[in-house]
């Protein structure tokens, strides 16, 4: 031991291997540009405190802030055949899948869970827009069928949070076949007399909107969510005129009779509890009796250290 090994080397090392600092402690609101601290953002459920812009939420964030105490059990989804068409565009489909799995830490674009909200048992499914634009392929179809079967078995309502660019083109016709497949799932719930509530989040488009997302007993959307079949770009190219402000946004759809309600994220959980309890013929919850969801600030720290993925692209189909 000498002066060099005791003092100089650690000093030099510290210069080169800095302590790991989470890089994304601050998020810039894409709407108004306000810099938002991660803890504050998480406490606001990823809603900008300045302009109320609703940013995306992963299924795990959604469930942690939805279920009582943030406690839920994942429902297993049968794995489909990987790359059923051996699809290849500029990249191979399995490579795109691996990249998406690495970026998100998730297996696929939908998570299904069971648990309680306001002491009301439910099954919930949530689509993950950060995973290949939430696109609907065999897995998402299997997830919705598994969610419906679980709900029927447990006699619980199903709450589904949609977010997708549309069908997963890399699964070709099999992605299209998820429209009838998921509709069969909706039929199972209907026959069992169980409520099916769809929460449409930004963006819900293409074949997803034209199947299970528009077949709910109740349709609730988050503010300003883009909800459409054909995307605005496709329509502008077809009709060659500029579309009006707010076209195909949640409020616009509400005006045109396609939604029941547009609800801010902060009120969503309470709203869902109220609705589900009425539809299930349960007594009202006693105010102040509701168990809180998970401690969101600690989740924010996890989120800050989690890997960030490349921005997802919207797969528009018509």
């Amino acid at each position: 031991m000498n002066w060099i090994s005791n003092y100089v080397r650690p000093k030099i090392n510290s210069l080169f291997s800095r302590r790991e600092v989470p890089e994304n402690l601050w998020t810039k609101c894409p709407e108004c540009g306000t810099m938002l601290f991660h803890r504050e953002l998480a406490e606001n459920l990823n809603v900008c405190s300045n302009c109320q812009h609703h940013m995306p939420m992963t299924p795990r964030e959604r469930f942690a802030t939805l279920f009582d105490g943030g406690i839920y059990t994942e429902v297993e989804v049968p794995a489909p055949v990987a790359d059923p068409l051996q699809f290849r565009d500029q990249k191979k489909y399995p490579d795109r899948m691996k990249a998406a799995q690495k970026a998100t830490g998730e297996k696929e674009a939908m998570l299904v869970a069971e648990g309680e909200i306001g002491r009301t048992p439910i099954v919930a499914a949530c689509q993950d827009f950060s995973f290949m634009a939430g696109s609907m392929g065999m897995y998402v179809g299997n997830a919705i069928i598994a969610a419906a079967e679980r709900a029927v078995k447990l006699k619980r309502p199903l709450i589904l949070f949609s977010a997708a660019g549309g069908a997963r083109m890399q699964e070709g016709i099999l992605s299209l076949m998820q429209m009838p497949r998921t509709t069969v799932a909706v039929e199972m719930l209907r026959e069992a007399g169980l409520p099916y509530i769809v929460v449409l989040t930004h963006p819900t488009t293409g074949g997803v909107t034209a199947s299970y997302a528009m077949l709910g007993d109740i349709h609730i959307a988050e503010p300003n969510a883009l909800i459409c079949f054909a995307g605005p770009r496709v329509i502008e190219q077809t009709i060659r005129e500029k579309l009006p402000e707010g076209f195909q946004r949640a409020e616009y759809l509400l005006d045109h009779g396609m939604l029941d309600r547009v609800i801010a994220r902060a009120q969503m959980r309470g709203e869902l509890i109220t609705i589900v309890r009425m539809l299930m013929g349960l007594t009202p919850v006693v105010a102040g009796d509701l168990p809180p969801p998970a401690d969101v600030a600690s989740l924010a720290d996890q989120r800050a250290t989690a890997a960030t993925g490349e921005p997802a692209e919207i797969d528009e189909t018509s």
Binding site: D89, M138, M177, M179
Partner: protein
């Protein structure tokens, strides 16, 4: 005047020559060209055979969209009797992209629904090129309700580039209309037999093709997105439609392998457009056979069978 597709160019030269020879002979009674012309005909037939034996997926897209291919109306006129068109969705309008009504198929009362593309500029515009708006799907739902109540099988003929991407269509709930139509197909207690006669374009096709039995003409296509659309998204270049058509596995042959369709209906040599009557007759035979397969099934069995088919679909990928 025959419309030649780009890959049919070698054929157009030979057929043109045969035609020219015969025209000369007609003008000059002394000339006997029939032998030569017949030889050219045989050569053309050989080329046609070769061309159509191994059509690339993109070539099939072109054939499926061929303007002279028989359309919904042609099939309805030839295969059904007492066709009585019914109109309107009872809410907003009558969408002419969708035709439908009561008819008899081999004397049996049925409900027929289909996309109509039109055959010339006027009728194409009138039928909006077979691209339905919400009213079209809602009319179809009405007709399916009717079929279900009066125990008539539904026969649907699918031929659409896709649902119409317009402002009004979105405002009036294009997504909801397609979703409800698909749902209505799944609820039908009567057989729903469907044939893709040209283009099966995405959600617009699914809304009528969620069938108990689904057949495709040999050179028709059925896809989640047009090859051009897929190319512009995944290749960022709409000109890569050949590659996209290949990758999407949208041909009748691939879809049969995937278990998405139940049967392939053969087309006459050179495609349905070259012998419309033969193509229509083949479709008629297939519809009769598919209805026959479902004879005697009760309502519950019909619903359950259709559901099971879709739940199982795709489980094995191309290995099915």
């Amino acid at each position: 005047m025959t419309t030649y597709l780009d890959f049919e160019k070698p054929l157009s030269a030979i057929e043109g020559k045969a035609e020219e020879l015969r025209a000369m002979a007609r003008a000059n009674g002394e000339m006997d060209v029939e032998k030569e012309a017949a030889a050219l005909d045989r050569k053309a037939a050989d080329i046609l055979n070769d061309l159509y034996k191994n059509l690339s997926p993109w070539a099939k897209c072109q054939v499926a969209r061929h303007p002279e291919r028989p359309h919904c109306r042609d099939y309805v006129e030839a295969l059904f009797t007492e066709f009585t068109p019914l109109a309107g969705d009872r809410n907003f309008a009558d969408d002419l992209a969708v035709v439908g009504g009561l008819a008899r198929f081999e004397d049996r009362p049925v409900v027929v629904i289909g996309h109509e593309k039109g055959h010339d500029t006027t009728t194409r515009i009138e039928h909006n090129f077979g691209m339905a708006r919400p009213e079209g799907y809602r009319k179809a739902i009405r007709l399916m309700d009717l079929a279900d109540r009066f125990n008539m099988p539904v026969i649907s003929l699918v031929d659409t580039p896709g649902a119409y991407p317009g402002k009004g269509a979105e405002e009036r709930g294009q997504s909801e209309a397609i979703a409800r139509s698909t749902q209505r197909c799944l609820q039908l207690g009567v057989p729903l037999v469907s044939v893709i006669i040209g283009e099966g374009g995405s959600g617009g096709a699914v809304a009528f093709a969620t069938a108990s039995r689904l057949a495709m003409l040999e050179h028709s296509i059925y896809s989640v997105i047009s090859p051009e659309g897929c190319a512009s998204i995944l290749w960022r270049d709409a000109e890569k439609m050949r590659e996209a058509a290949e990758a999407l596995k949208l041909t009748a042959q691939d879809l049969k392998k995937l278990g998405v369709i139940d049967r392939i209906i053969p087309e006459p040599r050179g495609g349905a457009q070259r012998d419309r009557a033969a193509a229509i007759a083949n479709v008629g035979k297939a519809i009769g056979a598919m209805l026959g397969e479902m004879q005697g099934m009760d309502r519950t069995a019909v619903v359950q069978e259709r559901r099971k088919k879709f739940l199982k679909m795709g489980a094995k990928g191309l290995a099915a």
